[in-house]
């Protein structure tokens, strides 16, 4: 155990280089900074929007309309100018992004139910989220104006009926059903919420697997390149311990790296998904539908992730043996990358259940598919599918470790090389 610890500590020290630590911290700081900026922009976008209004009508109706807009969280800034052009120039010089011009005779025309044109001027000062919100504001303002006017009209003409009942005579109640659970709510809102909560899982998994695999392959390749592997293989420590120390150290550093990465990434993504997660009412619906992860679900998900990482480490160990030097190790990550990208995209854009049998078997044969599919299966109570996936990965890991152990116990660890079309002979 003492010898194993000695080797494990050395491997971790080698992997946790200053360059890696600095690049991880810089990445986390960058994500945090971008996330902070994005959140601020989103908060500004969600706050009461200022609208400049040039009211040439000044009738009771236009006053009512502006009061209605204020009630809809718009902050009205009245403009005084000689002409519309002057109002536009003044608004352009100001801070508001939208100017609404109410024409003279507006109240009179609308009173006769004759359409009147209200002009809006959007000042695109940048193309950020706030800038993009301007067009949405225009639509919202026009809808709000139409709503206020039509409601006022209907109230005047048919006072005994609520305007809303006239405009939308058909009402709906939306229910979502998942297996035996049912709740009232919007399917799209719930899907959006679940997606916002689970979008990190595949990213975390992909990062951990790639980080760890790259580290194992590089660690073995560097030992070969620096001619230290031969010495290490002659010290009195079981070869299986050498394999295990490299795998564990890489897994450990991979997990730490992925954690740091994800802290930054979560901060970054929080800027985009915060609105959805905080949407009122969604939490209760999600709770009722059982779309939250309880302790058991987290354990199953953790097991699935853990075995996927172990499979990756074992495969990377074998690939590392094939590398001649650090440079060739970089290309050996490609098979791992392909095996991770396939289930990553399948889990995002397709449903494995509806695929043809050969394709389905191919996808399920890739060990990394199972943790990608685990989250969906847990939400849908398909625990057997998750358990079978974990069992499959455990068996796959066993076979890979056996193969890696065999390779390290024989001289193949030194003689195996990936040389296209030419066999290397060492004399």
């Amino acid at each position: 155990m003492k010898k194993f610890r000695n080797l494990f500590v050395k491997e971790v020290k080698e992997l946790l280089s200053k360059q890696l630590i600095v690049s991880l911290l810089l990445m986390m700081a960058m994500f945090y900074f971008i996330g902070l900026m994005t959140r601020r922009e989103a908060e500004r976008a969600a706050a009461a929007q200022k609208i400049a209004v040039f009211d040439l009508d000044r009738s009771g109706l236009s006053g009512q309309m502006l009061a209605g807009l204020q009630g809809m969280n718009f902050k009205i800034e009245p403009m005084t100018a000689a002409t519309t052009e002057a109002a536009v120039e003044a608004a352009k010089a100001g801070e508001t992004n939208l100017l609404v011009v109410i024409p003279a005779g507006f109240g009179e025309s609308v009173g006769r139910m004759e359409p009147k044109v209200v002009e809006t001027y959007s000042f695109l000062r940048n193309f950020s989220i706030v800038g993009a919100r301007t067009s949405a504001i225009v639509r919202a303002v026009l809808e709000a104006i139409n709503k206020v006017l039509s409601d006022n009209f209907l109230k005047a003409k048919i006072p005994e009926t609520a305007p809303e009942d006239i405009k939308s005579p058909i009402k709906s109640r939306d229910f979502i059903v998942i297996k035996s659970r049912m709740a009232e709510g919007s399917a799209s809102a719930v899907t959006g919420f679940v997606t916002s909560q689970t979008v990190f899982i595949p990213v975390i998994l992909m990062m951990i697997i790639l980080y760890s695999s790259q580290m194992v392959i590089s660690a073995i390749a560097m030992e070969k390149q620096n001619k230290t592997l031969e010495t290490l293989l002659t010290v009195p420590i079981p070869r299986t311990s050498i394999v295990a120390a490299k795998m564990l150290a890489s897994g450990f550093v991979g997990l730490v790296s992925a954690f740091i990465y994800m802290v930054g990434f979560r901060s970054y993504m929080g800027g985009f998904t915060g609105d959805i997660a905080n949407a009122p009412g969604i939490g209760q619906v999600v709770q009722k539908l059982g779309l939250t992860l309880n302790a058991n679900a987290l354990i199953i998900l953790g097991a699935s992730l853990f075995f996927a990482i172990l499979c990756a480490l074992a495969m990377a160990t074998i690939l590392g043996v094939l590398a001649e030097d650090f440079r060739s190790a970089q290309s050996l990550i490609m098979p791992m990358l392909i095996l991770i990208m396939i289930p990553y995209f399948v889990s995002m854009f397709a449903d494995v259940k509806t695929m043809s049998l050969p394709v389905k078997l191919f996808i399920l044969a890739i060990p990394f598919s199972h943790p990608f599919l685990a989250m969906q299966n847990i939400y849908l109570e398909n625990y057997n599918a998750v358990a079978l996936g974990v069992l499959y990965m455990a068996a796959f890991f066993g076979v890979m470790v056996f193969l890696a152990g065999r390779i390290f116990s024989t001289d193949r660890v030194l003689t195996m090389k990936l040389r296209w079309g030419k066999k290397k002979v060492v004399l």
């Binding site: 000695n6 620096n226 001619k227 031969e230 010495t231 293989l233 420590i237 030194l414």
Partner: protein
């Protein structure tokens, strides 16, 4: 002097290529035994088999009575191998590298400290042991590795081209260190294609070519047998 190492009928094939075609030799306690021959003669392959890195296609190797095939772990406890062009971990400081290697052999922290002190004496790198190995010259790395190889006083030190790439002064120092440790009882199995070096260092030599031992004996005995002034001429005569 008792027999330390015995190799019998060693063969090693890589696919259709047979690199070693039946080699026999013994190394006694405190003896420096050298395999000499040109590049590709099978010297390194033979050393790698004895160092437990390669598996012989046929033949047996025993060290202190332990069979290599049956008990490679026991074998490794008693050997130390210095490969040709070997490196050390570039990100570790020289002393940390020695500590790391010592911990594989030491039973107690005191043993490990003793091994490190001995390695420091052998390497003679002084304050540079606090620098990272990546900053060392080739000669410094070689001395560090020689210190590592001899610090545990192994029963058998296997040294592949121990002065490879070193300048004259460093080569002389390394040869003197090897001689000194052999006198203290460490057996040495080394290889080189520098026959003058071997003549200075070795108690006995085996002349190898194309995977076979052409002849073996003491340098003086071989020179007398082939009526040659040095081992280079001995080798040329043995080839005929």
């Amino acid at each position: 002097m008792g027999m330390m190492l015995k190799a019998e009928g060693l063969r090693k094939s890589y696919g259709a290529v047979e690199a070693v075609k039946g080699i026999d030799f013994t190394v006694d306690e405190g003896e420096i035994f050298a395999l000499i021959g040109p590049n590709g003669a099978g010297k390194t392959t033979t050393l790698r088999i004895v160092a437990t890195l390669l598996t012989a296609t046929a033949g047996t190797v025993t060290l202190l009575g332990h069979d290599l095939r049956k008990n490679p772990e026991k074998f490794r406890e008693n050997i130390s191998y210095l490969p040709e062009e070997a490196g050390a971990y570039r990100n570790l400081k020289g002393r940390d590298y020695l500590k790391f290697m010592a911990n594989f052999y030491a039973a107690t922290p005191a043993d490990a400290a003793g091994f490190v002190r001995r390695a420091e004496d052998i390497a003679g790198l002084g304050d540079r042991l606090t620098s990272k190995v990546g900053t060392y010259s080739k000669g410094m790395v070689r001395k560090l590795l020689l210190g590592r190889a001899l610090m545990t006083r192994p029963a058998l030190a296997i040294l592949d081209e121990p002065t490879s790439g070193l300048d004259v002064i460093n080569s002389l120092e390394v040869r003197e260190i090897i001689k000194r440790f052999a006198k203290e009882g460490i057996s040495v199995l080394l290889s080189s294609h520098n026959m003058l070096e071997i003549e200075f260092l070795s108690d006995r030599v085996a002349l190898i070519d194309k995977g076979r031992v052409l002849d073996s004996g003491t340098p003086a005995g071989l020179k007398e047998k082939y009526r040659a002034p040095n081992l280079e001429n001995v080798f040329r005569s043995a080839l005929r």
